[in-house]
């Protein structure tokens, strides 16, 4: 961002360090969690007068140098040299955890830094979701980001952090987001962060206990907690979403409000707020095991939740489905305090599971209804990723086979059937009240500088500021189909945008109505652009996005110029004439526009590199201060000891709790089980494809080291069981010199549909897959909200469900029964 004072626009030159500017030194404590050791190190400081009196300040750089133990001649317990094993962050110290020799680390660090210097920042980290699968994944990211930042590699072509996660989403998010979530018709939408949802609803929280038993945290009020209680807090504080919302049906709640005298939407909101404040209205998340709070109907689309994506598969079988389960774990002795504890956990919460799927996968096996879907070559659709900057079509080469239909048509038919049923069940329009978390890129994202819980009376309850928002939505279920097949004119007034950008699209909308190139729907005397067919919907996405419509792109840059006071519109120059239609993509995939929606500048044929927009154009980062944050002063980060980039050790199996029952009667060789991406499948897709199975030894094998296999009496291609308290997976062992000792690997995702035998250790019950031996552990500081970058954004911010810290026992099978 521009280095100008916000008050008087005067330029300033920020100080990197106070060293040499101030003689005052503050001995500051730093904790290293691996050795569990706190040391005091000198940091140069200054006193600054504020309205609240004098304050001691230093720079983040100075703190970072002290944290990393860089001896700059300051007093305190700085390491002797690189060979000091007892001081954190020396090359010798890291040997204790990694097994990588100091010399290798030093050589790498020097080559990294000198290359960055010589090339002007062309050192790159390509990172995948694997990091997200470790409990302390955030700290690994921060370590990498720090190395990039210190060497000037952020926001450079050929440098920076290239994060290959979430690449499945469609790049023209500004337009598809509005269509997909029905924002062309109404404002509020219920979008759920899934890891916490499954953690609570599958009862996995019951087996967890206090997180401080496996997360190395300083002992304080904020860390002496159960993660489920923290989730409950995050929901009422407006940090995270949770649905079902309240113990009472929200349509009924609105009727009750009207009956009690509410005359308009504000009145309804006030009624709901009062009822929450008086604690007469209970949050579902506060008592998830009460029958009235169960989620009952589950549509699975574009995923393989049962086995594929959801960690803790066997808990899903038990608590969602009420069917067979191979979990033998028992409730933790640590109960929740705020979330109501039931002595007996409910089983079989779900009434109906509908799966929209083009494969008969594990989720389909467990669903009540499977709606066969068209595959990629049987429908019109769009495909793109933000890192690769091209947009591709999916086209129907053949009609959908047998009874399958395109996803679009299935949802359209569901909308139609619902509208028809609504004539009988909901003939009148309904009022609904939606609770939503405070959103990223909204004013609310700077509303909670400190944690004050309105529910405990620590502050006033103000929706959208100290708590979640409340929105009243009109629902006319009889019109669901009409709305599905037409593009609502709400867009004409609200405009579009994403990631803090905005543009009006009234003219583009009207063009769709007037032009012969778009189909229209005529409803009650109004004319709307039609979304009836999948290809028409794709064209609406393309026509309304800055990425594929240059006029809107230039407009969005103009708006960004107004908001930032920077010159930006040159980035859109030349894109005015870009107007990509679906047929154009069918002729050839197209590169989309450089747009303010994404942070890569691609003008002049440059490759997409994230954050080049921020670095070159001085666009503020989407953080609390508009800068990159290397010091996180959020209360939770301070309390957890994660205010600075920090090393936290991977938790020991005893602490993590995967093997409490399994090892009750004795010891065994414990292996860390990793479940990375497979070589020939994308999660479960293609896994059970005949060709790929032929190349994969006919199953998803368990990879083991030669050493562990020999010790366990396991030969290559033997059948083995991989198990712990959560469940069991049976497959053939692949013994390989390329696997490290102490580790085994099961690539995700095996399907239950092919070649899974019955387990011996579970008395002849059929084994599951790679998520049978996982259970969700969430890191509560990922719940934080209302604080700049720590603010909820669908599919971006919220706790990850890690599984790499999982430990198992591997045992040879003597008898294989299918």
């Amino acid at each position: 961002m521009k280095l100008e004072n916000a008050v008087d626009d005067q330029p300033y030159d920020p100080v990197l360090t106070l060293l040499g500017r101030s003689n005052e030194i503050a001995l500051t404590s730093f904790t290293e969690f691996g050795l569990d050791k706190t040391v005091h190190r000198g940091v140069p400081v200054m006193r600054v007068e504020t309205t609240d009196g004098p304050v001691t300040v230093t720079t983040v750089y100075d703190l970072t140098m002290a944290q990393y133990g860089v001896d700059r001649g300051l007093p305190g317990a700085y390491p002797r040299d690189y060979g000091d094993k007892n001081a954190a962050y020396t090359p010798a110290w890291q040997e204790l955890f990694t097994g990588v020799a100091s010399d290798t680390v030093l050589q790498f660090a020097r080559e990294w830094a000198s290359t960055a210097e010589a090339t002007g920042g062309k050192c790159m980290i390509i990172i995948g979701a694997g990091i997200n699968h470790w409990y302390h994944g955030n700290l690994m990211y921060r370590a990498g980001a720090m190395a990039l930042m210190l060497t000037g590699c952020v926001g450079k072509n050929g440098g920076g952090l290239n994060h290959y996660v979430g690449q499945e989403k469609l790049a023209p998010m500004d337009s598809w987001g509005a269509i997909a979530f029905g924002k062309d018709w109404q404002s509020a939408v219920r979008l759920q962060q899934t890891p916490l949802w499954h953690y609570i609803n599958t009862c996995q929280y019951r087996y967890d206990g206090q997180f401080s038993r496996y997360n190395t945290v300083p002992d304080n009020e904020l860390t002496r907690q159960h993660t489920a209680d923290e989730i409950y807090k995050s929901v009422r504080m407006g940090w995270m979403p949770f649905y079902p919302q309240f113990a009472q049906n929200t349509l009924e709640l609105c009727r009750e409000a009207i009956d009690s005298g509410a005359t308009d939407d504000d009145g309804i909101k006030q009624y709901v707020l009062n009822k929450l404040k008086s604690k007469q209205l209970e949050y579902s998340v506060s008592d998830p095991d009460a029958e009235h709070n169960f989620p009952r109907v589950w549509y699975i689309w574009r995923g393989n939740a049962i086995m594929g994506s959801m960690k803790g598969h066997e808990y899903c079988l038990k608590h969602y489905l009420g069917t067979h389960s191979n979990a033998i774990a028992e409730d933790s002795e640590d109960h929740t305090t705020e979330v109501k504890w039931h002595d007996v956990a409910p089983v079989g919460k779900m009434d109906l599971i509908v799966d929209l799927n083009f494969r008969m996968d594990s989720s389909a096996l467990y669903s009540d209804i499977v709606l066969p879907a068209a595959s990629w070559y049987e429908k019109a659709d769009l495909n793109s990723t933000d890192l690769h900057s091209f947009i591709h079509p999916l086209s129907a080469a053949i009609p959908p086979v047998w009874e399958s239909k395109t996803d679009w048509n299935i949802f359209r038919d569901l909308a139609k059937a619902t509208s028809e049923a609504a004539v009988k069940y909901f003939p009148e329009p309904q009022k609904d009240v939606v609770a939503s978390p405070i959103a990223h890129d909204s004013a609310g994202e700077i509303s909670q500088p400190v944690i004050k819980d309105w529910y405990r009376g620590e502050c006033e309850a103000v929706p959208g500021r100290t708590m979640h928002g409340l929105t009243v939505v009109d629902r006319d279920y009889t019109k669901l189909y009409d709305k599905f097949i037409s593009l609502g004119d709400r867009l004409r007034t609200t405009g579009l945008g994403a990631h803090g950008n905005h543009y009006q699209c009234e003219d583009a909308y009207d063009e769709m109505v007037a032009s012969n190139h778009f189909a229209v729907e005529r409803q009650n005397g109004n004319v709307y652009p039609s979304l009836k067919e999948d290809e028409w919907a794709a064209n609406a996405v393309l026509h309304l996005s800055t990425l594929t419509n240059g006029v809107l792109n230039v407009r969005a840059y103009r708006n960004a110029e107004r908001r930032t006071g920077l010159d930006l519109v040159d980035l859109g120059a030349g894109s005015e004439d870009v107007r990509i239609r679906f047929a154009d993509l069918q002729a050839q995939p197209r590169r989309y526009n450089t747009s303010p929606l994404w942070s890569g500048v691609m003008t002049g044929g440059r490759a997409y590199a994230p954050y080049t927009y921020n670095v070159e154009k001085l666009i503020p980062w989407r953080t609390l201060t508009g800068r990159q944050h290397f010091y996180l002063d959020h209360e939770m980060y301070l309390a957890y000891g994660e205010n600075l980039p920090t090393y936290k050790p991977s938790p020991k199996p005893e602490a993590y709790g995967d093997l409490k029952q399994t090892l009750k009667d004795g010891d065994a060789r414990i292996l860390n089980c990793l479940t990375p991406h497979g070589k020939w499948h994308i999660h479960s897709t293609y896994m059970e494809n005949h060709r790929m199975l032929t190349l994969s030894r006919g199953c998803e094998p368990v990879w083991m080291s030669e050493v562990d296999a020999a010790d366990l009496g396991i030969q290559d291609n033997d059948w083995v069981e991989v198990y712990n308290d959560h469940g069991v997976y049976c497959a053939r062992a692949t013994v390989s010199a390329r696997i490290p000792k102490g580790v085994c690997i099961v690539y995700h995702v095996p399907e239950r549909t092919v070649g899974i035998p019955k387990s011996q250790v579970r008395g002849g019950k059929r084994a599951g897959g790679h998520n049978s031996f996982t259970r969700i552990h969430l890191k509560p500081n990922f719940l934080a909200g209302g604080y700049g970058q720590f603010t909820y954004h669908f599919n971006y911010w919220g706790p990850i469900a890690p599984n790499r810290d999982t430990h198992v026992i591997v045992k040879r099978m003597d008898k294989v029964v299918f």
Partner: protein, 517 residues
């Protein structure tokens, strides 16, 4: 001089990621048929490993290829004199278990199983018998060092390596592996052709593609034994043998072979090479140490006026000559001397070439005393449990070729009949290119180092840039330079095109047997 034209492929092994997309493309087009289930005309092997069929390189077992016999050469196991005595029993054939028994799954069980307490599962069944089976082998059974105790450690290329060199290859901290994609080598001295009692196998004059005439093949399977690369396969359903046809119907239409077209890493280059057929016999029977260099000498300079004249008199079309002058294969193999044939000691004069991979530098292990380590740790913390540390540090930015994780001897056993100098020179050249590019883009390698590395390997900065370009940036048109078939020749070949078009298709044209005879 007898100038002939050969379409030749180069595989740049540094670029192969082992995805097997080539294998799948080939399988889907050519061998997705009854009797061909187990055939992989294109397969990808992990090295070290025993490959497919298992241990195919070990000619003590399979008796493939040629052996020197005084001044000349004989087929090792399936020569015509031998095949007459063994014509009803060929003792040196791989059996189905050396390949694998193709399998599928009993999917109907998922839908038709009676209700019970458990989910049903589809168990593996044989594609040959339909009966439940145990899967014990596959087309890439040792992929990514799968089953290294049984396969990689028994790789016959480990011969002549010291015990400590061998052991190092299987220590996690020192190991490396690479991929070796394989199709028919379309050899100049094909053992399959020589071994066939029926005369069904022939090498096409216009492009050197080796084909089995399905009309003439009688299924004696001598070619299966004779081919040291095990790239002819017997179809148990038709009773005939089959092999890679270099996708000639695609090539004739100006399309790349399916394996090349689908290659994700863009590792393949296809181009014309001219060679002197007069030398075939003498090169194939040369001393083992000379085979590689003499094969290189057979390849002719497409710019040499004498070669051009001789080619013309042999009926080689101008379009072929033109392609030969832009041939990426010629550049890698002859002009730059970067590529080598696979197992030249088999003496079939294979016409596919490999740029050997530059592997990471050797790691070592440092001992460390960790006995009291756990006492210091947080009780929750996992720590490094062993009394040694990985060390991959080097003195230079890029470690030297001698420090590579694969002993040079191993590479030499694969690509130069055991001659480490041949492989070493090529790897040094690749390293020189890398140093030159590092100096150009980063500038942290000293000028002297680069100059010395280039001079050592006979490169100039311009040549190094050319190599870099064709390796890293080349477009499809640079990598695939093939003359399309001449329409007039195609018509002549088919004789009565109008009568056969759309009916019998290629390969079954009556009269084509003459071409193999």
């Amino acid at each position: 001089m007898d100038v002939r034209s050969q379409i030749s492929m180069v595989f740049h092994l540094d670029k192969c990621i082992g995805c097997h997309t080539c294998s799948i493309a080939c399988k889907n087009i050519w061998t997705d048929r009854k009797g061909a289930e187990y055939m992989w005309w294109n397969n990808v092997e992990t090295k070290p490993g025993t490959g497919y069929p298992s241990k195919w390189e070990n000619q003590d077992i399979y008796k493939g290829g040629w052996e020197k016999n005084g001044g000349g050469i004989n087929l090792k196991g399936a020569g015509k004199p031998k095949s007459l005595t063994n014509i009803f029993h060929n003792p040196n054939l791989p059996v189905i278990d050396d390949y694998y028994e193709p399998f599928t799954y009993k999917y109907l069980d998922l839908i038709e199983s009676p209700s019970g307490n458990d989910q049903p599962t589809a168990r593996p069944i044989s594609m040959i018998t339909g009966e439940p089976m145990d899967i014990k082998m596959g087309p890439n059974w040792d992929d990514d060092l799968s089953g290294s105790p049984d396969y990689a450690r028994n790789d016959s290329n480990l011969e002549k390596l010291s015990p400590s060199e061998r052991e190092a290859m299987f220590q996690l901290e020192r190991m490396a592996f690479f991929y070796l994609p394989r199709i028919c080598n379309h050899c100049l001295n094909p053992a399959c052709v020589a071994s066939c009692p029926s005369g069904a196998i022939y090498k096409r004059g216009e492009d050197g593609v080796v084909l089995i005439n399905q009309e003439v093949c009688r299924g004696w399977r001598m070619c299966v034994t004779a081919c040291p690369y095990k790239k002819t396969y017997y179809n148990w359903s038709t009773g005939k043998s089959e092999k890679c046809i270099l996708c000639y119907p695609r090539i004739e239409a100006g399309h790349a072979p399916a394996c090349m077209h689908s290659c994700v890493g863009r590792i393949r280059y296809l181009g014309v090479m001219l060679y002197d057929a007069d030398q075939i016999e003498s090169v194939a029977s040369a001393d083992e140490a000379d085979v590689v260099s003499r094969q290189m000498n057979m390849i002719l300079d497409p710019f040499d006026p004498e070669v051009i004249a001789s080619a013309k008199s042999n009926g080689i079309a101008d379009s072929t000559m033109h392609a030969a002058q832009y041939s990426p294969a010629y550049k890698f193999v002859k002009e730059w001397n970067l590529a080598l044939p696979l197992h030249p000691e088999f003496r079939t004069l294979p016409m596919l070439f490999y740029v050997p991979p530059l592997l990471p530098v050797m790691a070592s292990v440092t001992q460390v005393d960790n006995t009291r380590q756990s006492e210091k740790m947080s009780p929750v913390a996992k720590h490094w449990p062993d009394s040694w540390l990985y060390d991959t540090s080097t003195k230079e930015l890029f470690g030297s070729i001698d420090e590579a994780r694969f002993p040079l001897q191993y590479m030499a056993n694969l690509f130069s009949a055991g001659d480490t100098a041949q492989v070493g020179n090529r790897l040094k050249k690749l390293m020189a290119v890398r140093l030159h590019r590092r100096q150009t883009t980063v500038g942290d390698v000293s000028e002297d180092t680069v100059k010395m590395a280039l001079a050592d390997t006979g490169l100039t900065p311009q040549l190094a840039d050319d190599i870099y370009y064709l390796t890293s940036l080349a477009t499809f048109d640079d990598r695939f330079v093939i003359p399309a078939a001449h329409r007039e020749q195609a018509i002549e070949m088919m004789e009565f095109t109008g009568d056969v078009k759309g009916s019998t298709g290629f390969g079954f044209q009556s009269g084509s047997a003459e071409r193999g005879a």
